[in-house]
Every structure is written in structure tokens, then in C-alpha cells.
């Protein structure tokens, strides 16, 4: 955190977003594409990974803290704590692997019910790897139907070709911005942040030196 002492906070809201889904569906790749617009062979996520991105969406300066979880079942006992306070949850599956889609209903939706602390938390369903169109086994309509049943937003994307990646995060955040209870939480974070970033200072007029 830089310690510049400008009196304006550097963002309007801080949102916590969570990426969940089976191992190998491309959660980390999706995040890497979004935060640094690159694509790479990534090693599996152990425990949790964490990235921050500043964006301007809907005219608001936002700080997105994005938690990228491990997909493997062995790590699931750890994941419960990651859900706490999340305003948005992105459920990712691989359109070329059927089981990653069926696990959404069998595993991931249940995890959300169990651990999400936030009633109004926005959920988003994302089908990744649409660049492999010839290998696709989950149709777009199946995705849409699932999203309708579980009350999620829905998009198909490719972290590899970057198609729709930004839109995933953007639509999710716009929906959060539309939800007053989530907004209130996000701005509480800002307040806490201002508080912590600023040690007491004399009025600007007397401390402009150095």
C-alpha cells in the first residue's frame, strides 16, 4: 500500500470476489487474464491465491480483492473461511468436461449455501474454455438453465482468447453496485481502509513540508 497522503481515498468501494469450481477448469487462468491480461501454464492452486485489481466500473472507482481457491477436494475443508464476507462468487466450469458442470449442483452450490455469510451475495456462473469449441460437451443452453434455476448471472468465456473475461467481472460488479446491502458493506471496507492508511496528521496547511 503506498503511503501517499492525499486526502481522497483511492477507491469508492472495496469488493471481495471469490472464484470456485473444480480443479483445472481455469479459475487461476481467468484471474490472471483479468488482472494482468496474460495467459500462461499455471501450477495448481494450493490453498488459496489472492489478487487485487483496481477498476472503474459504472463510474465508481473499485478495488476488487479476488480470492482464487483450490479446486481439489482435499482442500475443501479449508475453503469455508474464504466465503466469509464475499460480495460476489464466480462458479467456473469447463465446457469440455461434463463432470465439472455436474459438480456445480452436487458440490459447489451446496458449498455456497453452507458457507456464504451474505444472503444477498451475487452469484455468477461461468463456462470457460469456449476456444475448444470442437471438444465442447456442455451446451450453452444447459448453462443458461442452471443459472436460471440457481439465480445466477451467466456467461461463457475463454481465458486463453480473452473473450468475455472482462465481462464476467464487470457484470458481476455492476450487479453488486445495484444491491444496496452489498454496497454498504463495500463502503465500510473503505472507511476502515481510510482509518488505517492515515496516521494522525496535523492539518494540511501545517504539514505540507517534507
Amino acid at each position: 500500500m503506498d503511503s501517499s497522503s492525499s486526502s481522497q481515498p483511492e477507491f469508492d468501494y472495496l469488493f471481495k470476489l471469490l472464484l470456485i469450481g473444480d480443479s483445472g477448469v481455469g479459475k487461476s487462468s481467468l484471474l490472471l487474464r483479468f488482472t494482468s491480461d496474460s495467459f500462461d501454464d499455471l501450477s495448481p492452486t494450493i490453498g488459496v491465491d489472492f489478487k487485487v485489481k483496481m477498476v472503474t466500473i459504472g463510474g465508481k472507482k473499485l478495488k476488487l480483492a479476488i480470492w482464487d481457491t483450490a479446486g481439489q477436494e482435499r482442500f475443501r475443508t479449508l475453503t469455508s473461511s474464504y466465503y466469509r464476507g464475499a460480495q460476489g462468487i464466480i462458479m467456473v466450469y469447463d465446457v469440455t468436461r461434463r463432470e465439472t458442470f455436474s459438480n456445480l449442483a452436487d458440490v459447489w452450490a451446496k458449498e455456497i449455501d453452507l458457507y456464504s455469510t451474505n444472503q444477498d451475495c451475487i452469484k455468477m456462473l461461468v463456462g470457460n474454455k469456449v476456444d475448444k469449441e470442437s471438444e465442447r460437451v456442455v451446451t450453452k443452453k444447459e448453462g443458461i438453465d442452471f443459472a436460471r434455476e440457481y439465480g445466477c448471472l451467466f456467461l461463457e468465456c475463454s481465458a486463453k482468447t480473452r473473450v468475455n473475461v472482462e465481462q464476467c467481472f464487470e457484470e458481476l460488479v455492476l450487479k453488486i453496485l445495484d444491491t444496496p446491502s452489498l454496497l454498504a458493506e463495500g463502503s465500510a471496507g473503505v472507511e476502515r481502509n481510510i482509518f488505517k492508511q492515515k496516521p494522525p496528521q496535523a492539518d494540511a496547511s501545517t504539514s505540507s513540508c517534507c
Binding site: V52, L78, S81, I194, K196, P200
Partner: protein, 360 residues
């Protein structure tokens, strides 16, 4: 962030908790006395940035060796199970307390934290709970209190009331407490009496360090600080009716409140699970360059304490090495830092890891 007997455990910052620490320290007889004893020696310490309002004027470059030495001694103390208070007094008196350590040192010197590090967590938790209960009991606005009372009452009355066609009898409407009650046990009467104290406190808080934004300003966090300080002073007055609120208490509270509420330990806490899980389960293989991993493993495998013990010490040393960044950072920057551990002087890191080994 603190090393608590080699174990790292941190709490997320919570507003109520920080109010409580002030309250306890200010409100406990023996603690206040001890504070006065120790404040004599405190004044001999170099003052850092007060008045000009900057908390750390010292940049990393001109950090004196004494300060580093102090920190080192302090960390040594903290790696024990029980802190030697006398030793701590000596260190604190002659050393240079910086803002990063001051909160913890003061809490110990004031007797707010026990010398047994293992007891800190429980002690803090129970004190915080007690403060929350006191606030609930003594500072709640009567209408809120009565509403809650009503809810529990009406739950039991409901069945009866339903029987008489939904209408309340005249007596039932007026038997409660109300703002015009004159009886001494009326909570409304008490509330208005408290109002006078609150007004006095508020007038004084507005004039407490008016040149420092932390205490007075129109921004939300200074308002929040004022509110917290008002709660502390009011609770003290109510719990010590013979003393009440005396002007000047606001001034005594100010440094305590400032030091404890800006305690970095409370604000940038990161659950170790979020970073140390990977460090430990993967034996640090994802945190360093490949050739560094070899060096670290040399050290892990050769240490007589065993791989696991040494691994934990290396992890602690990793935290110690970036402590300055951690103490400056907030939650997000700290988590980022610990998940993407920066390049570091490996010799130094391993030396610290060895130093953390307790002398048996």
C-alpha cells in the same frame, strides 16, 4: 503482527475491541496507578513525531541501531512463553519504542495483558465480551431497550391479548417506563441525567487535540474515534459514579486511545491459513527460486530439531524479515506480500530462523 510463542495468530480489526482496550486500561484502578509509575520513565524516552502529528518520522534509512537492537530484544522476549516484565521495563525505558511495538508494550506495562503469552487470546476475548455486554447494558438508548424488552414481554403476553379481541386495556398501555417518569429507577430519568454528562464529554472531545485529524475533523474516522472515546468516558463515569466524568480525562485518554487503536497488530491481521498453509504443506517450494529452495532444504534436513520444527522457524523468520512492510500494509497488501514472497537475503533469513530456536 506478533510472534506469540512461535505461533502466529491474528485477529481482524474490530472497532468495539479497540474501544474496550482503552476502557479497561483507563478504568482499572491498579492499572492506572501502574501507568503513572511507568509514565515517568516514558517521558525520558525520545518522543516520536507527536505535536507535528507524524507517527513515524524515522525512515528505514536512518533507523538507529538502538532501535533495531530494541526490536530484537523485544522479539526475543516475545518468543518466550512468559514475558519477563522487569526485563521489558528496562528495554522499554532505555530503548526507543516505536509505534509498531508501543501498543503491545504498553498493554503489558499497564497490566492489561498478562505476562503469559498463551493467555493473551483468552484474556482479550473475555475482556472484549465483557465490554460489549457493559455497553449493551449501560449505553443503550431507552427506547431501544424498551423495544427489546417489549418484544420479549409481548411474546409471552400475545396469547392473552389475542383473547381480548386485540385491544389493550388502559392499564396495560401505561404500566411501562416512559420519558416523563420521575422515579429514580426509571431508565428514562437515568438517560436524561447521562445526557448532561455526554454533553460535557462531547464538548471536551471536540477540543481534544484539535490540530490532529485523528481526533478532530469532519471526516468519518475522526467522528468514529470521538464516538468511541465518548463511550469509554461515559462508561467509566457510570461505573465509577463517585468520580464521574472529570474534565481532563479526555486528555489522559487521548494517548491511550491513539496508541491502542492504531495498533498495527489489530489492523492488518492476516489469517495464517491464507499464506502459511502453502508454505508448510509444500515445504516452501512455491515461495522461492529453485536454487534458494535447495539452500533452505539443506537447513531443514540438517537441523537437529527435525524438519518440521525447523520449517516452522523458517516460516516465522520469513514474517520477521518482512515485518516492516507488514506493519505498514493493510490486509490486502499484506496478503499479497505473503502469497508472493519477495526476493530476500537468504543468509539473513536463515540466521533469524536459527535465532528463533528457543534456548532450552
Amino acid at each position: 503482527m506478533l510472534l506469540q510463542g512461535g505461533k502466529l495468530h491474528l485477529k481482524l480489526f474490530e472497532k468495539e475491541e479497540e474501544e474496550l482496550e482503552m476502557f479497561q486500561v483507563a478504568g482499572r484502578g491498579p492499572a492506572v496507578q501502574r501507568h503513572e509509575e511507568s509514565s515517568g520513565s516514558m517521558t525520558r524516552c525520545r518522543r516520536i513525531g507527536r505535536g507535528r502529528g507524524r507517527r513515524r518520522e524515522v525512515s528505514d534509512d536512518d533507523t538507529t541501531t538502538t532501535e533495531l537492537e530494541f526490536e530484537f530484544k523485544f522479539f526475543l522476549q516475545l518468543s518466550r512463553k512468559v514475558i519477563n516484565l522487569e526485563a521489558l521495563q528496562q528495554i522499554a525505558c532505555c530503548g526507543h519504542l516505536n509505534g509498531e511495538l508501543r501498543a503491545t508494550v504498553w498493554k503489558l506495562l499497564l497490566g492489561y495483558l498478562p505476562a503469559e503469552i498463551d493467555a493473551w487470546e483468552g484474556e482479550l476475548a473475555s475482556n472484549r465480551l465483557r465490554y460489549a455486554e457493559l455497553k449493551e447494558e449501560l449505553l443503550v438508548n431507552p427506547s431501544e431497550y424498551l423495544r427489546k424488552e417489549d418484544e420479549t414481554l409481548s411474546a409471552s403476553k400475545n396469547s392473552r391479548i389475542m383473547g381480548v379481541d386485540g385491544q389493550l386495556s388502559r392499564q396495560e398501555i401505561f404500566n411501562g417506563d416512559h420519558p416523563l417518569s420521575l422515579g429514580n429507577d426509571s431508565i428514562w430519568h437515568q438517560y436524561f441525567k447521562d445526557g448532561e454528562i455526554v454533553e460535557q464529554i462531547d464538548r471536551d472531545l471536540e477540543r481534544t487535540h484539535p490540530d490532529i485529524k485523528f481526533f478532530s475533523g469532519d471526516i468519518s474516522h475522526s467522528k468514529r474515534n470521538q464516538k468511541a472515546m465518548r463511550n469509554i468516558l461515559l462508561l467509566f463515569a457510570k461505573l465509577n459514579p463517585a468520580i464521574g466524568y472529570v474534565q481532563g480525562m479526555n486528555e489522559v485518554l487521548a494517548p491511550l486511545y491513539y496508541v491502542f487503536s492504531t495498533d498495527p497488530n489489530e489492523q492488518n491481521a492476516v489469517n495464517p491459513q491464507f499464506y502459511a498453509f502453502r508454505w508448510i504443506t509444500l515445504l516452501l517450494t512455491q515461495e522461492f527460486e529453485f536454487h534458494c529452495i535447495m539452500r533452505i532444504w539443506d537447513c531443514l534436513l540438517s537441523n537437529p530439531l527435525g524438519v518440521q520444527e525447523m520449517l516452522l522457524r523458517v516460516c516465522c523468520a520469513m514474517l520477521v524479515c518482512v515485518r516492516r512492510e507488514l506493519l505498514k500494509g493493510d490486509f490486502t497488501s499484506n496478503l499479497k506480500l505473503l502469497q508472493h514472497y519477495p526476493e530476500t537475503d537468504l543468509d539473513y533469513l536463515l540466521e533469524i530462523a536459527h535465532h528463533l530456536t528457543p534456548v532450552s
